[in-house]
Each structure stands twice: as C-alpha cells, then as structure tokens.
Amino acid sequence: MKEIKVLGSGCAKCTKTAEVIEKIAQELNIAVHVIKETSPEVIMGYGVMTTPAVIVDEVNVHAGSIPHRDLIESWLLK
C-alpha cells in the first residue's frame, strides 16, 4: 500500500489536497494511506518551503499548490 503524506499546517488548500488524493485513489481502486502532517518540525525535515506539499513513499513529489488530477493519477499508478 502506498503511503502518501500531505504536508501543511492546516491551511484550507492542504485539507483539500488530502481529500482530492483520497477521492481519486478510491475511483481508481487503489489502496492508499493518506496522512496529514502538520508539525512544522516534520515539514522542515522534508526541506519543503511551500505548502501543501506531497510526499509519496518518502519522496517529495510536489509542493506549493493543490496538485492537478493528472499528476495525482501518475503518482498512484506508478
């Protein structure tokens, strides 16, 4: 199962990002575990400066905006 972390200190866009990822995963029937990570210390650990950021299996794949559908599908189907 893929582990996906959404980094961001509770802004509206971060919540939205997590929701979108879960929704698309459900549509594609892929099991994912989406974690919302809000601790600044952890976010700093990934070297991320703009939120929401997305970490897929410990790799930083996106930062700074709600990701597009195509992009999310490409992470899930990888």
Partner: protein, 332 residues
C-alpha cells in the same frame, strides 16, 4: 486613461439607477462602482504582466541566493525579495524554517517576512492608481525600511536565542554546514511556460483578492459617502500626537491584507486624515495580526513574539509621527 471608469460609474448610477450624485447614496455608489471596476481591470492586466516577468523567482531560489550572503547586503536583499516574491501567508512557517535551516540569520529571514505582506504587486498597483506615484514610492520605501531595520534590530538583540529549540538547532546546523544547494538548476523558461504560469497566477491571485477589494472599496465608499465632510479633518486633522498610537492599536485587531486596506486609505486621506496617521493605521492592519502571530508561535518563544509585536507597534507609531510632521513639505 482612467476616465472611462468614472464615466461608466456615472452612466450606471445616474442613467440606469436614476440616482443623483448629490445624494449620499448616489455618491457612495458612484465611488464604489468606479473603484471596483478600475481595480478589477488593473488587477487582471497587471498581475498577468508581472507574473510573466517573475515566473522564474520562487522561495527556494531566494533561499539559495540569500544563504551565505554577507549581513549588510542580506537585510536589504531579504526585504527586497519579500516585496517581489509571491507567497501566501499560510506558508510563512515553512518559509521561515526553510530559510533558518539554510543558516540564514533570523534578522534576514524576518526582513523577508515583515516586508512581504506590506509590499506586493497588488498593493503597489492599487496605490499607484488610487493615490499617485509619490505616495506609492513613499509607501514602498517605508515598508522596506521597516523590514530592514526590524531585521537588523532582531539580530542585534540576538533574537535566535528565543526560537523554539528545534528551530534554533536547525539554524545552528545550517550555519555549520555549507548552505544546502539542492535547488533545481536555474532552468530558463519558454514563453509558453511563462504564459501558463502567469495565467494560473492571475486566476489564483484574483480569486483570492477580489472579495477583499469589494470589502475595502465598500468601506471606503461608506466613509466617502456617509462621514460628513470635515468631521475627520476637524477632529483628527492636526495630527494630534495621540491619534497615531491609537490608530496603530485600532489596526491590530482589524486584520486585512493590503488589497482591502488601500481603498480605505484613499477615503481616509481624502477626508483629511493626515498621511502619517493613515499610514500607521494601515500598516498595522496589514502587518501585525493575531492569526499571523499564533502561527509564528510554532517556531518562536513568547519572548521573541512579544519583542516582534512591540517592534512593529513602535515602528508604525514612529512612521506616523514622522510623516505627520514632514508630509506638508514633501507631498504638497
């Protein structure tokens, strides 16, 4: 070039709604329509053009550029980048930590963060169209000075002592090791990529600020139409010394961004509120807000927050006093 918006507002208010501009309601409505149409038009056009130009600037590149810069230059650059780099205030904590863990001194990071809400392309644009270039220049110079001097002061008192411990450790690590250079190589963007960025940016910023424009212009129009002429001038027009700190204190619980507050500034100044008092009120509304301070609590101890808070209060009060004193000589 802006007459078309005045004519449009007159047409709508007088011919369509059948109101006279001599009535309070007609006058306020005219002001509201003229300003919102003008501002919306300018925003769409100018954000697009500016975004085209700055498509390749982002916080990561700013960080890499600032890391290892000598301090004197660092404050000025930090504040300058704060003015031109796009970033949402919800990212201020990750940006703070990103800069800090790259070993950039707290003062330079704070010069960036203090200037950022005060000056941005939308604010400059609104100031230019509503209050003229002299006032705009003044505003930009003051905004940057607050950031630069604030940063110098924070480093002078060794503000890094009062960071939360994990942030302090990150700063120490960052300063020992050479600055991390994991930044993406500076790729040059094609015109098509720039257009894509600019289009997304325009829609994003416009989507975020349009309601602030309506609120700001709405308040401005209400002031314009319903506060009797001469009332503000008679009561506060002499720049009474206490009016400045009162304006700063009043601005703190009022939280707005620069977009919402500038149309209000226009009305206040037209009603005879002295420039210094207006500036103090507006800068305090924009730069000192409780939500922002609660966010910063995650990386700073109470002591540093208190220092920062008082620093901003004192700075805005001084700005108010100084400009009330000198404005008759420079803006007449």
């Amino acid at each position: 070039m802006f007459e078309i918006f005045t004519q449009f507002a007159t047409w709508l208010v007088v011919d369509v709604f059948g109101l006279s501009k001599a009535t309070k309601l007609g006058d306020a409505l005219h002001f509201f329509i003229e300003d919102t149409t003008k501002i919306f038009f300018l925003l769409l056009v100018m954000i697009y053009i500016i975004a085209l130009l700055r498509a390749s600037i982002n916080v990561e590149r700013v960080r890499d550029y600032l890391a290892g810069k000598n301090k004197g230059v660092g404050y000025v650059l930090g504040s300058g980048f704060g003015a031109i780099t796009p970033f949402c205030s919800c990212s201020s904590i990750p940006v703070f930590l990103g800069f800090t863990s790259a070993g950039i001194p707290v003062g330079i990071t704070m010069a960036f963060l203090i200037t950022s809400p005060l000056i941005n392309e939308v604010a400059v644009l609104l100031l230019l169209s509503l209050l003229g270039w002299k006032f705009t220049l003044l505003y930009v110079v003051i905004g940057m000075s607050v950031g630069i001097l604030g940063g110098v002061f924070l480093d002078a008192i060794k503000a890094e002592r009062w960071l939360q411990s994990f942030a302090a450790k990150a700063l120490e690590r960052g300063q020992q090791s050479a600055a991390i250079t994991n930044s993406t190589a500076s790729e040059s963007l094609s015109l098509k990529q720039r257009h894509g960025f600019a289009k997304a940016e325009t829609l994003e910023i416009f989507g975020r600020v349009w309601k602030w424009v309506i609120i700001g212009v709405g308040l401005g129009s209400a002031l314009h139409g319903f506060v009797p002429d001469g009332w503000i001038e008679n009561h506060l027009g002499d720049g009474q010394w206490w009016s400045v700190p009162s304006a700063v204190l009043l601005g703190i619980p009022l939280y707005s961004n620069a977009t919402g507050v500038i149309p209000v500034m226009e009305s206040l100044i037209n009603k005879g509120l002295p420039i210094g008092t207006t500036l103090a009120f507006c800068m305090s509304t924009v730069a000192a807000s409780f939500p922002e301070f609660i966010l910063l609590k995650q990386v700073m101890q109470w002591r540093l927050l208190a220092v920062l808070f008082i620093l901003l209060l004192v700075a805005f009060t001084l700005i108010g006093w100084i400009f009330n004193f000198i404005s008759p000589y420079i803006l007449s």
